[in-house]
């Protein structure tokens, strides 16, 4: 895709004039003012387009999001209200060669994780062979001993995974973390693509972007493939905690796109170990539950007894094989950031292969030597609580105060199992529209991996942006935003 030749000096725009590179990998530029080949189209557009036009496009996008009601709830603020998801207009572009590696790496990863989960809930060979320390697994809050010996359809524990990737200064993609418990963001990915097609049709057409609209269909196929044996035309539902959940928009969106019923715990009832849905036409049997409710809340008889979001008896129906839950119960073990540190070993052990996508160097605090090293150099590390998501419970060394570091030191020493540390990474940066100008901001990438009869990965995923200048925190709940991700043919 060659951009037409143009006189750079004549067309370098005001918008790009302040764009400066630092040591981070820049998605658009390989050197000052020199765009990478796959970004030339966008660069040319940015130089050519008057600021007013860009502003108008942004407004169109915002209105579109508003009308579709694309919102999320931010906790910890007074309103706790819905806000329109902050979206940056400029797409993040990935070449097909780069994507091919990512795809192979993620396929390898989800395959290994499923084998790992099957093993720890059955024979436990990898524990006996000390690939992962036994106490690490058993002390994990999300390890569910109730799942020992429980058979799951097609031995697939994790069917929907969102893995966060970051790009290092040398251009390599590495895995930052896996999200196996209700990863969200798919609806933003799908709706922002629709908006982008409307705003940048020419750029889109000329670039040759791979489509992603088949995600709902692929998800439905995945869910169907995991139905209990012998169920003709399985009844698939999406279990949501309800309207007050921050991801409720996504639940309704996906249910609608897939054409399945959106249910809450109180709509379901279990009788004789079979799950039914209460409808005006009577009870209707349920075969597959795409559950966006955490393990803890899914069945007050088996887990937290104070939960009102779940269904009493669900676990027994599950164990009897009369209903499939996606993801399976107990997959949170592989979500644990301390277990994440062992995934490269897991891949080698179960698949006999080297990991295609590497992990970020990780220090587990339960190891005395690693803990000491981290505590001595706390300013250089990012410390994370193993079970948290959304960017909470995190210390960013270089941006922290002495007081914050002292607080974390106390936490780590009190409960080392609950923390890991990683060196502060210089995440790659991508051009963003900030106050009418184009400026670089740190980004990550969250592709969504589906695993049923086969592994399906929709090209791209959600690119999350740390909107505040210099910030490394991309999570939406902490004021991050998103970009459309384009994987080229």
């Amino acid at each position: 895709m060659a951009a037409p030749a143009f006189d750079e000096q004549q067309f370098t725009s005001e918008a790009l004039s302040k764009y400066q590179l630092n040591g981070a990998y820049d998605e658009m530029f390989f050197a000052e003012g020199q765009p990478r080949p796959h970004y030339r189209g966008l660069h040319e557009l940015l130089c050519r387009l008057p600021a007013e036009e860009m502003r108008r496009k942004k407004q169109t996008a915002d209105v579109s999001f508003l009308h579709q009601g694309i919102t999320f709830t931010v906790y910890g603020r007074e309103e706790g209200t819905e806000r329109i998801f902050p979206h940056d207009l400029l797409p993040r572009i990935i070449t097909s060669a780069e994507w091919e590696t990512i795809e192979r790496g993620l396929t390898q990863r989800i395959t290994a994780l499923n084998l790992f989960l099957k093993d720890i809930y059955n024979e436990g060979r990898c524990l006996a062979d000390n690939i992962v320390p036994r106490e690490m697994v058993y002390s994990c809050k999300h390890f569910r001993r109730q799942m020992r010996g429980v058979a799951v359809p097609k031995n697939t524990y994790v069917s929907v995974m969102g893995t966060d990737l970051v790009r290092l200064p040398d251009g390599r993609f590495v895995v930052l973390e896996d999200n196996l418990r209700v990863p969200s963001g798919v609806s933003y990915m799908l709706t922002s693509r629709q908006v982008m097609k409307r705003i940048f049709p020419e750029l889109f057409r000329n670039a040759g972007v791979r489509s992603i609209d088949h995600y709902p269909e692929a998800l439905l196929t995945t869910l169907r493939s995991l139905s209990p044996e012998g169920r003709h035309e399985p009844n698939i539902v999406l279990l949501t905690p309800g309207v007050y959940n921050s991801a409720y928009f996504e639940h309704t969106y996906l249910a609608r796109q897939m054409g399945i019923e959106l249910v809450e715990g109180r709509d379901l009832v279990v009788h004789d170990n079979i799950v039914y849905m209460r409808t005006t036409g009577g009870l209707r049997r349920v075969d597959v539950v795409y559950r966006r409710v955490d393990d803890d809340f899914i069945d007050p008889l088996a887990f937290r007894s104070d939960s009102t979001l779940g269904v009493p008896g669900m676990f027994n129906a599950y164990r009897a094989g009369n209903v499939s839950l996606v993801n399976a119960l107990g997959t949170g073990v592989a979500d644990d950031k301390a277990i994440y540190a062992y995934v490269p070993r897991i891949i080698r052990y179960f698949l006999g292969e080297d990991p295609i996508l590497e992990n970020v160097e990780t220090y587990v605090m339960t190891d005395a030597a690693e803990r000491k090293h981290v505590l001595d150099h706390l300013q250089e590390f990012v410390v994370k609580a193993v079970g948290e998501s959304g960017g909470y419970g995190m210390l960013i060394g270089p941006h922290s105060t002495a007081e914050q570091r002292e607080e974390f030191r106390r936490h780590i020493e009190a409960d080392p199992r609950n923390y890991i540390a990683q060196p502060t990474l210089l995440l790659s940066r991508a051009p963003c529209l900030v106050d009418g100008r184009v400026e670089p901001r740190h980004v990550d990438l969250r592709p969504y991996i589906l695993c049923g009869d086969q592994v399906t990965i929709v090209p791209g995923g959600l690119t999350r942006v740390a909107l505040r200048r210099g910030s490394l925190v991309v999570n939406s709940s902490q004021g991050g935003g998103s970009k459309d991700t384009w994987v080229l043919h």
């Binding site: 309704t252 609608r256 019923e261 249910v263 109180r266 849905m277 409808t279 005006t280 009870l283």
Partner: protein, 314 residues
């Protein structure tokens, strides 16, 4: 559809209809009191409160007017709030226009309450409620698919209307001596206009019977007229139609129960001779309310709160 969703839509609709009715009744009464005998004012407010379901209006207040003001304003606000909350729970089932309408109505009502407008400018406030309730009904009819969900909304609306109208009639006829085929005297004249206006029926009545107000004709119009939307007959017709439609869509074996009860109510309104009704009008009206309660209970038992055992029986 999910039982919970049917339940939610039904109550959203009932709450809105209730708020509209309350607002209209109150608005009419405020308008009439300007020309009515102030000595009988207390009696009228007590009657109004009783018709709107206040448990004991006689004993409750030394100032029935003030009580009526606070009671109705609270009923309206809580009704709109509940309707909006219900709409929110099933936002995916209603059209976005419906949601916007009820949400906007809710926020406006809250604003007006906070600004004290319900007491300072009651007529404006009450008129606003009625107008917006009409708008919601219009939006619902034209933007929502007339499927099962819409039918449950109709059942809620007409169930509430049947009940409320019957109760209003009941109280009016208890208070005034047996209606005869004679025009009313001038002191009672306004009361009957009030009753008709409370059901938006004055102009329609006049078209059918002229401005000659006779209690038996008022009873006939409000109970038996099959063309006027606020008559009990019309409401029960629509209720039965919607229940039939639901029966066809939801196809449960036990729906015969609900259909029978609705059919019986309707038959009573079609076939009972007017003289018989008029002779025992208060009883006839309370009979209607009881039948409504039974239909509501059956509706719930068949479609919503049925036990598992009942549902799994062959």
């Amino acid at each position: 559809m999910l039982s919970r969703v049917a339940d939610t839509l039904y109550w959203m609709s009932r709450y809105l209809e209730r708020a509209e009715h309350t607002a209209r009744v109150m608005g009419v009464q405020l308008n009439l009191m300007l020309e009515q005998d102030p000595r009988s004012a207390d009696r009228r407010w007590i009657r109004l409160l009783a018709s709107l379901g206040h448990p004991d209006p006689v004993a409750s207040a030394s100032d029935p007017f003030a009580l009526a003001q606070t009671y109705t304003s609270r009923q309206i606000t809580s009704g709109i709030t509940a309707a909006r909350e219900n709409a929110r729970q099933v936002r995916e089932q209603i059209s976005s226009e419906m949601w916007e309408q009820v949400n906007r109505l809710f926020h406006e009502v809250k604003r007006m309450e906070a600004a004290g407008l319900s007491t300072a400018q009651p007529v404006d406030f009450l008129g606003f409620i009625v107008e917006n309730s009409h708008q919601f009904q219009g939006v619902t009819d034209s933007t929502m698919n007339h499927g099962e969900g819409w039918q449950f909304i109709q059942v809620g609306r007409f169930m509430e209307r049947t009940s409320a109208t019957a109760r209003l009639l009941d109280l009016y006829f208890r208070e005034f001596t047996h209606p005869e085929s004679q025009p009313v005297d001038s002191s009672e004249h306004m009361e009957w206009i009030g009753l008709l206006r409370s059901c938006t029926a004055f102009e329609a009545y006049c078209k059918v019977y002229t401005a000659d107000l006779r209690p038996d004709r008022v009873a006939e119009f409000l109970l038996l007229n099959n063309e006027f939307p606020h008559s009990v007959r019309f409401a029960s017709d629509r209720m039965q139609q919607s229940l039939e439609a639901i029966h066809l869509i939801a196809s449960s074996k036990r729906t015969a129960q609900v259909a029978k009860l609705a059919g019986r109510l309707r038959a009573g309104l079609i076939f009972t001779p007017l003289e018989e009704i008029v002779a025992g009008l208060a009883d006839f009206c309370s009979g209607i309310q009881q039948q409504c309660a039974r239909i509501h209970a059956a509706l719930y038992e068949v479609y919503i709160t049925y036990s598992i055992e009942a549902a799994l029986q062959p």
